[in-house]
Symmetry: C2
Subunit: 187 residues, 2 copies
DNA sequence: ACTACTATTAGTACCTAGTCTTAATATCAC
DNA sequence: GTGATATTAAGACTAGGTACTAATAGTAGT
């Protein structure tokens, strides 16, 4: 029941990692020691108090949630464009596009860049994505610059349905491939 | 500078929504009223105290993060199986599979169900997914029962590569389609 | 057994960001 | 001015701590 210091501290770290919303009092009971001992342990192990732990978790989410929202605009800077034929855009992965935890770009930004480009490529008033086949071939990290190249593969002369292929690269490495079937409104 | 009650309370709601980690003291300063007034406002508007607000945000994340982890097992209950031919599984979307915020099932569970089924279908020691083309045709809500039907489309007699098509339904409605290219180890 | 040292426990004062309650003013409508 | 509503203040209490001091327990070395 009662372990030595080292053992207890190791378990303490594990316990707090697993259930971070636990008070010192509950921890003291769990390890059959006094609250003061738990506090000394936390001090030694540099584990912040409950409220700080809760706050840390909350801040992580809040930042991620808030910053990832504005996805309504065009993602990426279009640097070359030949309507109904091909286009190129550049998108740099900044803090607000990546997960704080590991710096890996959120997939929907890669998708958004490709999709924006496919939409922009359509020489009509409205363009909507009907279907998409996407493939993430490599994860993209914070600070990397993604170059998306879109190419019209086929236009159905009757329906106007346009098939666009987008390939995204970081340096020369393929990170994303998507095939988009676009619906266009001629009016 | 100093607004009337209604105006102030409307702004209060907006302010807290925007920056939930703000103390009553800061709010009092912002609206040039006393701390007590802010507390009366929160009472009337049923806005919990700062610590509770922080905790709510943290709990939301934590639950979502923790509960979505165990994805290593087979997802869904296999109710029919003919090796190398076809299979059916049922999966019910429970709380831990859906986003708390809106009750919509996380996509990876639909993928996992389909993928599990495709793997199980292979009549060999090992089966791995080489490629997948997936399509989410409708969002699935908490409490719904997903029926996935897998069918072997083609087996390459030389390489053993197996193509499996999985279609998932809620009632009679198609919610997911996936084509899986499976790699198999004969050993 | 005595000393030295670490580990544990206890107790006090203080802090933040509140709650809950009572009471005194301020402001406004009529 | 009289009420009603709004605002401010003051006091007691709470959780979950920090920071500090001090006492006690247990263990190892000599």
């Amino acid at each position: 029941m009662r372990r030595n210091k080292k053992e207890r501290q190791a378990l303490l770290v594990a316990t707090i990692k697993e259930t971070p919303f636990i008070t010192d009092e509950d921890l003291a009971e769990k390890f059959s020691v006094s609250v003061q001992t738990i506090r000394l342990d936390r001090l030694e192990l540099s584990i912040p108090e409950l409220r700080e732990r809760i706050k840390n978790v909350a801040e992580k989410t809040f930042d991620d949630e808030v910053k990832s929202l504005p996805l309504d605009e065009v993602i990426g800077e279009i640097i070359d464009m030949e309507l109904d034929h091909s286009a190129i855009s550049i998108f740099e992965v900044k803090e607000e596009h990546a997960f704080k935890r590991n710096g890996i770009a959120r997939g929907h930004y890669l998708f958004a860049q490709a999709n924006s480009l496919a939409v922009a490529l359509i020489n009509d008033d409205f363009a909507l994505t009907a279907k998409a086949n996407i493939h993430f071939t490599r994860s993209v990290k914070l600070g990397e610059r993604i170059i998306a190249k879109a190419k019209v593969v086929n236009i159905n002369t009757e329906t106007g349905r346009t098939f666009v292929e987008v390939k995204s690269f970081v340096n020369a490495e393929l990170v994303f491939v998507g095939e988009f079937e676009m619906y266009r409104a001629k009016k």
